[in-house]
Amino acid sequence: MLMKRMIKVVSRRVLFTLLLIVICFALQTSVLRLSFFGNVSPNLMLVLTVSLALMRGEIPGLLTGFFCGLCVDVFYGDMIGFYAMILMYIGFLCARFHKMFFPENMMMPLSMIFVTDLIYGLVCFVFLFALRARWNLPHYLFRVMLPEALYTLMVSVLLYPLVLRLNGWLEDLEQKGARKFV
């Protein structure tokens, strides 16, 4: 019985997360690319990965990162697995702060999103550009990484509370189910 209920809970979480990923991915690639921000798009996949890793811990965090990255890989990458790996490690590392996470504290998740987006940009620069002998780091920093990180931060001010609330609602639902079971 408990096993059955756990499967139900896990599958509901998985479905919810997948739906969230697909919607965010579609948003990121269509409407959110704004010209006044230097024509960059915010990294919603990263926001999802970091916030879910903080809220739910290690395994959900790294799996979310993996599937978010896979989405980007499948549509835009030259080889599949590159972005999946980066986002997976980001999810895994952010989950280290799962124990320090309180729903009331907004500053920590937001600053983590900003910092990890810069790291994400740096990794992209090293593997996709520096290895092809394009060295001009300051240029890429000011034209791509920083605008992306700032824009992502702005969007996550809206997106993060939404994910938090959805997650809370989901947990309430699960608790209700548990009470009924007992």
């Binding site: 096993m3 991915f25 269509s30 395994i59 989405c71 980007v72 599949i80 790996m85 550009f129």
Partner: protein, 292 residues
């Protein structure tokens, strides 16, 4: 007893330490990267599955965005249109006389064109229009998704143009979508030539230069020193992916390389990539005579 024991077992079995899962998935990623680095067999499978999930969302959201901006524009439009209408009425007068003159000029131009056989080559190709429905997810390369795919007769390596000149080529193709890589993307290079002297050169996309609206060219052999600023650069006859004679842009800067044999510089693309909404796909592929 049995009933109390089983769930505990089940719960224990369920917990895999995150480290092991991370290690396994890292191996999987590395494997996939190696498999898909050169061959596109596996990525094709992934892409077909993915497109059925995401393309409808992208299409829908795009329509919503267009609708919203339409509504916002409408209010501004009314005032502007009244003022414009007055100005346009005045223009109509002067234009009517201009048209008569131009019609005569055009007749003359057409005669001259047939005379010199300068009829632009790409007017004869079969083309289909397509709408851009999504841009690149990252900010490092320039590629975009259009709303037509193999069911509309589009194949990989077909050239994409907009009214003014070359936009890029199709690099991936699903049933109802395809991905176009732009010529300004950092990972493209095209074999081009100078229209007036037929000297070959290589055009490379460059993210750094694109901020200034330029792309780089190099390896231009021009011993006679005839190539100057403002010359037209078109796709060359020897390119194996691009049809010959499609306009790419105009030379804005040219300088000698250190080896004194070749020249390099920058050119301004004719297409405005920032405001691209619809493109034309040429439904013909270059016959390169290779193993295809």
């Amino acid at each position: 007893m049995m009933q109390t024991e089983l769930p505990v077992k089940g719960e224990e079995r369920f917990k895999i330490p995150g480290k092991y899962l991370l290690f396994l998935l890292t191996l999987l990623c590395a494997g996939l990267m190696i498999l898909t680095f050169r061959s596109s067999f596996l990525s094709g499978v992934f892409r077909t599955v993915g497109s059925f999930l995401v393309t409808p969302f992208q299409n829908g959201l795009n329509q919503v965005a267009v609708w919203i901006s339409d509504q916002a524009d409408r209010l501004d439009d009314i005032e502007r249109l009244q003022e414009e209408n007055r100005l346009l009425q005045e223009q109509v007068q002067s234009l009517t006389t201009d048209i008569t003159n131009l019609q005569q000029d055009r007749y003359e131009l057409e005669q001259l064109r047939t005379l010199y056989a300068l009829d632009a080559q790409y007017e004869q190709y079969n083309k289909t229009g397509a709408r851009i429905i999504a841009k690149d997810a990252g900010n490092w390369f320039h590629s975009f998704i259009i709303n037509k795919g193999s069911q509309d007769g589009i194949m990989v390596d077909m050239n994409v143009i907009s009214g003014a000149g070359l936009v890029g080529r199709v690099v991936e193709c699903g049933t109802n979508w395809s991905r176009v890589q732009a010529v300004i993307s950092d990972n493209t290079s095209i074999s081009g030539m100078v229209l007036s002297t037929a000297d070959n050169l290589i055009v490379d996309g460059d993210l750094e230069l694109y901020e200034q609206g330029l792309i780089r060219f190099s390896k231009l052999v021009d011993n006679a020193g005839k190539v100057k600023m403002g010359e037209k650069i078109v796709t060359s006859n020897v390119s194996d992916k691009y049809l010959p004679g499609i306009l790419i842009g105009y030379i804005t800067e040219i300088s000698d390389d250190a080896n004194n044999l070749t020249k390099s510089g920058t050119l301004t693309p004719v297409v405005d990539f920032e405001h691209l909404e619809t493109v034309l796909v040429i439904l013909e592929r270059k016959q390169s005579g290779g193993d295809e």
